[in-house]
């Protein structure tokens, strides 16, 4: 399966980004390829296009300002996503979004139920993307962001750990809970459909 090559892909990315002896003019070259993805991620976090634009603009301003502190040899993508996320968390919308949800069982390993016939498998076969979008929107922001980083951005666990500033074990447990919550969210939508 192609997913088995994921780690290799990201090592390739790490090796190929010219991050040694970074001159200031190379910031644009490093940062702009992430622009569309960062905007998409910002929209999912803020749920508002205007706020997303402000968030992305502030992220780029901070990243440019702090570019001298970026350590060559480390992952630029994880670095700039971390800036975006920290900026979001300290914004009014971010503080509101994160104060609502408490991931109180985080860190506990979860055993996924062995379900033979799942509603989502039938639902997904129908390729109803809109229902998945709605279910994603309903997720707590901590679950939504980790799913997006893993599935849409195809970040490795190590990159996610760096971008969210959480340990690898937490990445795995939070991802597992996010997937379960998404599946649980899809069930009633399927039943209505």
């Amino acid at each position: 399966m192609s997913y088995g090559n994921k780690t290799t892909v990201y090592w390739f990315t790490l090796v190929c980004v010219p991050e040694e002896s970074l001159p200031s003019e190379s910031f644009e070259q490093l940062a702009m390829p992430h622009f569309e993805r960062l905007y998409n991620f910002a929209c999912w976090l803020t749920e508002n296009r205007q706020e997303a634009e402000d968030l992305v603009q502030e992220t780029y301003a901070k990243a440019l300002k702090g570019f001298s502190s970026f350590q060559p040899g480390t992952n630029f993508r994880a670095w700039i996503y971390k800036i975006l996320r920290n900026t979001f968390l300290t914004s009014r919308t971010g503080l509101k979004a994160t104060s609502i949800v408490q991931l109180d069982l985080e860190g506990e390993e979860e055993t996924l139920p062995a379900v033979k016939e799942t509603p989502e498998s039938i639902l997904l076969q129908r390729s109803d993307g809109q229902l998945v979008q709605q279910a994603l929107e309903q997720l707590p922001v901590a679950y939504r962001e980790i799913l997006l980083l893993c599935e849409v951005e195809e970040m490795s666990y190590q990159e996610i750990s760096a971008a969210l500033a959480i340990p690898m074990g937490t990445v795995m447990s939070r991802l597992s809970r996010a997937r379960k919550t998404l599946r649980d969210g899809l069930r009633p939508r399927f039943q209505k459909g």
Binding site: G4, K6, T7, E28, A52, V56, T90, T111, A165, L182
Partner: protein, 258 residues
């Protein structure tokens, strides 16, 4: 059931995050087990559905241009930036002139190192206040500012309670002193801005073996009032154009909080 242990790792397997040997064993199992194979298919469908649903928002070309303009290298410095550079240069000159006079009367490497640290601190203070966005975390709440530094600097410190003290917290930012990371907090008292810098004493003393104790500082040598001390393995600097009494009061609040 044997499959249960596989199923628990199914997502990690599909994310390509199992160790190489385990990936190969899992591959072989999935091919031979109809139940795990069906589960894997469902999970892959879910991953693909999230991928498709997640790529939803596209920025406008106008917004892209705005970002490109904002980060493009600038051929000419703006008036504001020029002013900031001039102000910083002036301070460096003043500090440099005063410190060189001081060094003339008390020659020696230790004193030169101390002066270097103090002038760096003064530069950081002035350059930050001249910036259009002096703080990265804007909050008057110490419970917001303190956690903001978590994961950004390799140590923790306490912020004092300011109720009825006359001081107010404006926010904080990361800073660097000779490539050592530290915390920079900005306080306000009667329209005067005061900077508080916190660094790891261990890191500082490895680079600057000379003692940075406050007795070694002659206040006349700096255009600001400053106090510095070490406590709990951390080195604090409080600097600003406020009165020496205000600087001392804020320093005491920090000492009491640590």
């Amino acid at each position: 059931m044997v499959c249960e242990s596989w199923k628990a790792k199914l997502d990690t397997y599909l994310d390509g995050e199992l160790p190489e040997q385990e990936m190969r064993t899992f591959d072989a199992h999935v091919r031979s087990c109809p139940s795990c194979s069906a589960d894997a298919l469902t999970h892959v469908q879910m991953k693909r559905a999230i991928q498709v649903a997640g790529k939803r928002f596209t920025p406008s070309t106008d917004f892209r241009r705005r970002i490109e303009r904002s980060i493009a290298p600038r051929p000419q410095r703006s008036f504001r930036l020029g002013w900031m550079v001039a102000a910083a240069a002036a301070v460096i000159l003043v500090v440099g002139a005063t410190t060189s006079t001081y060094m003339g009367t008390r020659s020696g490497r230790d004193q030169a190192l101390r002066d270097h640290v103090y002038s760096e601190i003064a530069d950081l203070h002035v350059a930050t206040l001249a910036s259009s966005s002096p703080v990265d975390v804007i909050s008057t709440d110490r419970h917001t500012v303190k956690p903001w530094f978590q994961g950004k600097i390799p140590f923790a410190f306490n912020l004092p309670e300011l109720q009825n003290s006359g001081f107010s917290l404006l926010g904080g930012r990361m800073t660097y002193l000779d490539q050592m990371p530290g915390a920079h907090l900005i306080y306000d008292v009667r329209k005067h801005h005061i900077s508080v810098f916190v660094f790891q004493e261990r890191s500082l003393s490895s680079k600057f073996p000379a003692s940075l104790d406050e007795n070694s500082l002659s206040p006349k040598q700096l255009p600001f009032n400053m106090e510095t001390w070490t406590q709990g393995g951390l080195r604090y600097f409080v600097i600003g154009d406020a009165s020496a009494a205000d600087i001392d009061s804020l320093a005491k609040l920090f000492k009491a909080a640590s």
